[in-house]
Symmetry: C2
Subunit: 338 residues, 2 copies
């Protein structure tokens, strides 16, 4: 199948349908007839709310150690729904493909998406395929939109409004691996690394947490802008002071080394399988234990605490024994990391 | 505000948030705090099913007579939900922006999206903004994903399974205007036209139809591939013969003229505010009357009928008194028409 995507694959006629059938329909488990909208068969529990999230993926390169754009798009959307405390039900997928893109690569990416959806226990439904001329997009962009339901007892986990003094912040593992893995895979860079992206669905982990603990006050995955961005957003939403112990935030040695060489702050680097959980002071040990028992959280650790104070701030207790403010990352970080 | 989008607007840090707040948040009526997923406040009626649809919009040019990429993205998504017989509840929006894109144009497009959502009685929720380098995408791509609910009595309208002999096909107005309007707005073409895109939300029309009629057997909007593509898909889904009277399919005079000059078939051209409704033989007159009473359907007419036969086909009774097969459009139609 040494074929390439052509503009006629995007015309909505016979070639469009052939491409969709050949590449997507069966792999995604989408039943005929193909319609423009998908009816979600699962019924949503009474009293639950519908949750929706959408993200465009423009990662460069499309394939990187530990993943590819397809796996990234599926996990990213699953994780956005998961950290809101909701259950993912279905994912809609939209492709923008550059003319000349190899059909074989599209198949690999579609397989990767199907595999990740199956692993996470969700389904790919409804899709769209647009083709643009050579040079009008950079090979392939994917937008995934997740739909899920939120039970009443899990509301407000994403808003930060439940966060209160004494809460502990728990992270599920080392930061920065995704950004370094993608960067290392770019042809124009002079370093090579063995670092793998942490790209991973977190829904089974978050479901264990919210099902078993009553004091989950906030969860968020640490994507673009990394830990630093999320902590600063939380500070603004919850109007609180957050203290973080630098030594307790895990950073893998190769990531730390490359950050020093390249001048990056690992706290601002994108992750694709990391989250922070803010848990009440009476329950954080139990939360930590649950997280460590899950394959996506065995490296979890408590990294900080919510403390009283008038002006919202994120304060880092440094390894050297000092204090510094963690700011919202500003200016150009690493473009097209997700 | 003579600003341009830069790569740092896509980094997930301060500049990302500033751009989102300045351009989107208030216009879209999205409340702070900004989170990655939106909880949909409207409750879905008991027994209803969730419906989801997603589409990428890559139209070239971004602004054309009768609309722009933003209006197109919102109406297109509303219409996909509407023709399934469902009610639109919320739309999630994802932007891929080329570095250097004028913020003013982004504001115009955002305003156009907000206006169209308001007109149609729906809401824009949850969004995403990615920025790619100069030359890595063609100015702006938008992916919109709609969520709605389907009442049990309106199921199977999109599947074609209810279609039966004697059903009539009704169209809500002339075909081909969107494609000709977009084509005429392209700089590299030598003709100019006063044709406006028919870009329009159809949800109020479809709701009137399904609320008042019990024999609605199929509905579909006529986008990429036009009337010809939809009729061929319906033929396959319903395993039926469809006859269409050429004289009864409305085509505006300037569209017909340009099609003759340029060698296009108006039946294969994309529309963005047209649909066909297949109604039972005892009810089609009532459906036609309801459609004609709506601003989106005052030009409605019966264009054909479902007849008995062994082999699925779409047969055109031509103006000249002959018969010909309408095929699924094949090969390159008009790229980037939506």
């Amino acid at each position: 199948m040494n074929e390439y995507v052509s503009l006629s694959h995007g015309s909505g006629g016979r070639q469009s349908r052939d491409l969709i059938k050949k590449v997507f329909t069966e792999r995604f488990g989408i039943a005929e007839p193909l319609t423009d909208s998908a009816i979600i068969d699962e019924s949503f529990p009474p009293g639950s709310r519908v949750v929706i999230t959408t993200d465009a993926y423009v990662v460069d390169p499309l394939f990187f150690p530990g993943g590819d754009i397809g796996k990234l798009a599926v996990t990213g959307t699953i994780n956005d729904i998961a950290v809101s405390g909701a259950r993912i039900v279905a994912i809609a997928v939209s492709f923008i493909i550059e003319e000349g893109f190899p059909v074989n690569d599209l198949v690999k990416i579609a397989e990767s998406m199907a595999l990740e959806a199956e692993r996470a226990g969700t389904r790919l439904v409804s899709g769209d395929t647009k083709v643009v001329g050579k040079g009008k997009c950079d090979r392939l962009f994917i937008t995934t939109t997740g739909t899920g339901f939120l039970l009443p007892q899990h509301e407000h986990i994403s808003s930060g409004l439940k966060v209160t003094e004494g809460d502990r912040l728990i992270i599920n593992g080392p930061v920065g691996n995704h950004a370094i893995a993608v960067l290392g895979a770019r042809n124009d860079l002079s370093f090579k690394t063995e670092v793998l992206s942490d790209c991973r669905s977190l829904n089974r982990l978050t479901e264990k947490i919210v099902d078993n603990c009553g004091e989950i006050h906030f969860m968020r995955d640490l994507t673009r802008g990394g830990l630093a961005a999320v902590l600063n957003e939380l500070k603004e939403m919850a109007k609180c002071i957050i203290t973080i112990d630098e030594d307790s935030v895990p950073v893998d040695e190769p990531v730390r080394g490359l950050c020093e060489v390249l001048g990056f702050d690992p706290f601002s680097l994108a992750n694709e399988g990391k989250l922070i959980v803010v848990a009440g002071k009476n329950e954080f040990r139990k939360v930590l234990e649950i997280m460590r028992s899950d394959p996506a959280g065995f490296d979890s650790s408590v990294i900080g605490e919510i403390v009283a104070g008038d002006r919202p701030a994120v304060i880092l207790n440094t390894s050297a024994g000092g204090k510094r403010i963690i700011e919202l990352p500003s200016g150009l970080q690493l473009p097209r990391i997700c």
